[in-house]
């Protein structure tokens, strides 16, 4: 029996001890009409060998192409040691550290993670993770409504240059909380938040302004001005960041001329999680110390044992659902602990120089790619602002067909932005991380030139 150790002898002895005739008799309190169900749609069991064969076949159907899509999930090199250590059974098969003395390994890892993440963001406090970047933004919005006691409106300004899926998720999770989301458009020349559209809200009661850096188009926002605007108008500044970009860009804790962003969230995936079809990733959430008691999720603190030795425990638990129940800051319980373990090992291996080198190499590789692609007739940048490692490009023909032709050659040539923005039928969002070689870039450029030549000919 797969994964069940009982011998026939064990079963007989155990039933005799219980005083039951059969295993079935143990279910006698259940109404007979509910028992003996038909689950024949579940296939018969397969051996490990057979399932291995099946999964190899399936995985080979998903053999990755040359990927130039970013848009919230990024292909980075992950050092071999990261998942070798992370999948050790002692990390992989442990539970949430509710018995701290038997969980010091996990707890210390989370404390180290919190230390690294506050270093990267320049914020005071980090929690032990949320599910992903999108749900972290939703939690940040809920947190801002609790934390900004001066604001009565529960009104959130959400730039259209925030990842469209993040905006959807934030809305879906917050929609029963009487929170109003107001969209702030972007400047069609720069791709940045439209400052005129923003200033229209200057005299209103605003709870928080969401500030993406870099934004969904890859563009660098004027985060100082946006943070100042928010805080001068009584709103909290919620940063949405890519953690790798922070090795190059200003830490959110230093945005603006005050004390920096109030809450910072982001997708942790670029720190050691494979793209893996969309997850598991992890959500980053950091904040200033004055908001710590409004923070959702677990957090680890350092303390001492009865002999004075240092150790780690889950702390500030009265914010959480298992204590506060209906008055908790969030319903979150399980988070993404194993991904945090991987990220902590990943950041340790890269160190300050390594993470910086990854960030600048991504930026430089994308610049190289953009130069090669815009050298093709009819391909041009949509925005003129500075960017990190993603860039929106306008093609001479509709993006959908071009991307489909490229995919036939196993090249994923970016994301079709018409799916999210009206009037962008010809626009793709491309990304080139440090994993792309000059040969990769040349292959993409050659293929695009070829596809465009055919498409324009056909048109």
């Amino acid at each position: 029996m797969p994964f069940i150790p009982h011998t026939d002898h064990d079963i007989q002895q155990m039933l005799a001890a219980i005083g039951a005739d059969s295993i079935d008799a143990l279910f006698s309190e259940i109404d007979p009409s509910l028992r003996d169900v038909d689950i024949s749609a579940v296939p018969e069991r397969a051996s490990e060998q057979a399932v291995t064969r099946l999964m190899h076949d399936r995985a080979s159907q998903d053999a990755p192409g040359l990927c130039f899509i970013g848009a919230g999930a990024y292909e980075h090199h992950i050092p071999a040691a990261v998942w070798e250590i992370t999948t050790r059974g002692e990390f992989y098969s442990a539970y949430t550290p509710y018995q701290p003395e038997a969980s010091q390994g996990t707890l210390q890892v989370v404390y180290e993670y919190q230390s690294m993440m506050t270093g990267l963001t320049g914020m005071d406090v980090a929690n032990a993770s949320l599910y992903d970047g999108a749900s972290a933004l939703a939690e940040a919005v809920l947190m801002a409504v609790r934390a900004n006691r001066k604001s009565k409106s529960a009104r959130i300004l959400m730039p259209a240059s925030v990842h469209p899926f993040y905006r959807e998720v934030a809305y879906n999770i917050c929609k029963n909380q009487q929170i109003t989301f107001e969209t702030v458009g972007y400047d069609e020349t720069t791709g940045q938040v439209d400052r005129e559209a923003l200033s229209a809200w200057a005299d209103e009661d605003i709870t928080a302004l969401v500030i993406p850096q870099p934004n969904f188009f890859g563009a660098i926002e004027d985060v100082d001005a946006l943070t100042d605007w928010a805080q001068n108008n009584g709103a909290l500044a919620i940063g949405v960041v890519n953690p790798v970009s922070l090795a190059l860009l200003k830490a959110p804790g230093r945005w603006g001329h005050g004390e920096g962003a109030d809450i910072v969230v982001g997708e942790g995936q670029p720190l050691g999680a494979p793209m893996a079809g969309g997850g598991p990733y992890f959500g980053i959430l950091c904040c200033r110390k004055k908001h710590v008691r409004q923070m959702p999720g677990r957090v680890v603190g350092k303390t001492t044992d009865m002999e004075g030795r240092e150790g780690y425990v889950l702390t500030l638990q009265p914010r959480e659902q298992h204590i506060r129940r209906s008055k908790a800051t969030s319903n979150i319980c399980t988070n993404q602990g194993l991904l945090v373990t991987a990220a902590t090992i990943h950041m340790s291996l890269l160190g300050n120089t390594g993470l910086h080198d990854v960030a600048v190499t991504c930026a430089a590789t994308t610049r190289d790619l953009v130069a090669r692609l815009t050298a093709i007739a009819g391909v041009e940048k949509v925005f003129d602002s500075a960017y990190f490692h993603e860039c929106a490009l306008r093609l001479p023909v509709a993006a959908e067909g071009v991307l489909a032709r490229l995919a036939e050659r196993d090249i994923f040539g970016g994301l079709d932005l018409s799916r999210f923005y009206a009037g962008y039928e010809n626009v793709i969002l491309v990304c080139a991380t440090e994993t792309k070689t000059e040969a990769d870039l040349a292959a993409f450029a050659d293929a695009l030139a070829d596809v465009l030549a055919h498409e324009t000919e056909a048109a």
Binding site: F27, V51, I69, Y92, A276, M306, R309
Partner: protein, 500 residues
Amino acid sequence: MTTMTEQLIFEHSRPGRQARAQAPASAPAIDDLPATAMRDTALGLPEVSELDVVRHYTRLSQQNFAIDTHFYPLGSCTMKYNPRACNTLASLPGFLGRHPLAPASHGQGMMACFYELQEMLKSVTGMAGVSLTPMAGAQGEFTGVAMIKAYHEARGDHERDEILVPEAAHGTNPATAVMCGCKVVEIPADADGDVDVAALREKVGPKTAGIMLTNPSTLGVFEQDILEISKMIHEAGGLLYYDGANLNAILGKVRPGDMGFDVIHMNLHKTFSTPHGGGGPGSGAVGVGKRLLDFMPIPVVGREDEGESTTYRWLDERDVPHTIGRLSAFMGNAGVLLRAYVYARLLGREGMTRVAEFATLNSNYLMTRLKAAGFDVAYPERKASHEFIVTLKRQKQELSVGAGDFAKRLLDYGYHAPTVYFPLLVPECLLIEPTETESRETIDGFVEAMIAIRDEARVDAATLTEAPFNLPVRRLDEVAAAKNLDLKFEAETGDARSVA
């Protein structure tokens, strides 16, 4: 398990040391970013070698209890063996390298697994549809209650904002109801541990949006009146939500759909043996009855057959017209879903039924042996489900040692503690769930440890109240941790500093 403590990784750091093999070979200069946008402070990461990192985190791992090293009878958490094949096969390069927005034409393998997992979960729960996107049990709960709310609103039934929750429910239930904009109405349990049906009847009415139930309940017994409860709620116009925390107890034996539940979530990290990872990632896949099919969260995987060929595609708003929408940036915890799929295929239909059977056998055997050894169980007249509750109220009175003290001393004996002080309504309780993957010898060993610990308490209570003795740290001061918050290492001074 080691008893050695380990410095922080930052304390291993030496300026200029680096694991150079890990970073790109060269770092070109970038000069086109605005100066005001650039970083002007240190990153604060440790500077260490690859061996430093490997040794440090290997040593930290050795300070954990885990299923792979210890019996872990943590009630309500289903700490069963996580088959290694699930990890190996979910980690094949074709799966790991897939970008979530890459075309579906290049993701048919993964999508086939998701589709088949949806179908298996439908069958084993008796539901009409399954969405795999929720990323943990609590998000599955949110999904369920959000669908219930959306269902009533779509019918113009705007007054229904009360969610009934048993008082012994997990804290996530009431917290979720509030996140969905509902009011929580608590329902007491009767003397046998079942929902008090008379009390429930008084609280059901035109404002009832639904009820959230775990069955078997958190008290470790199967809800005997479930069919009556289901009828009562439906007649009042409400819907029934099944919290799948305890699905391991009935897998393949009884189906929530047959009990009348309209929506359920499954903790795949419990019942389908995906790892707990020291606190996630989980997966809270939801199943729905016919009434809620049009409300499921997206994306869902659909299948289209044309002649000989089958293609899988993502279903979106056009296919699920009243969807409560997207709850994660992409496809939930996709890698966890692949692990659950492999597990389900390895078990097959006979294996699924055996899960409930042997989880229940082990639980009843352990309960019988502890009773015979003189321990009190909370509901002695009832059969155990996959878990049961021991109450140490008598030991607390007679020996001045409580559930928390037994728990800490069990750690010294090499057993992870059961869940303590939950559910709150049973005093000095241990909620014990052995799971089906443990052998009779392991369970017998646990019983011997419980007896030995009680003997120790009779000689000297301090053996328990000061435990543990044999772990890297002794009992930790949680009050001080909350009072003098130290949540990060601060590099400037070389030691940790209070932040609040």
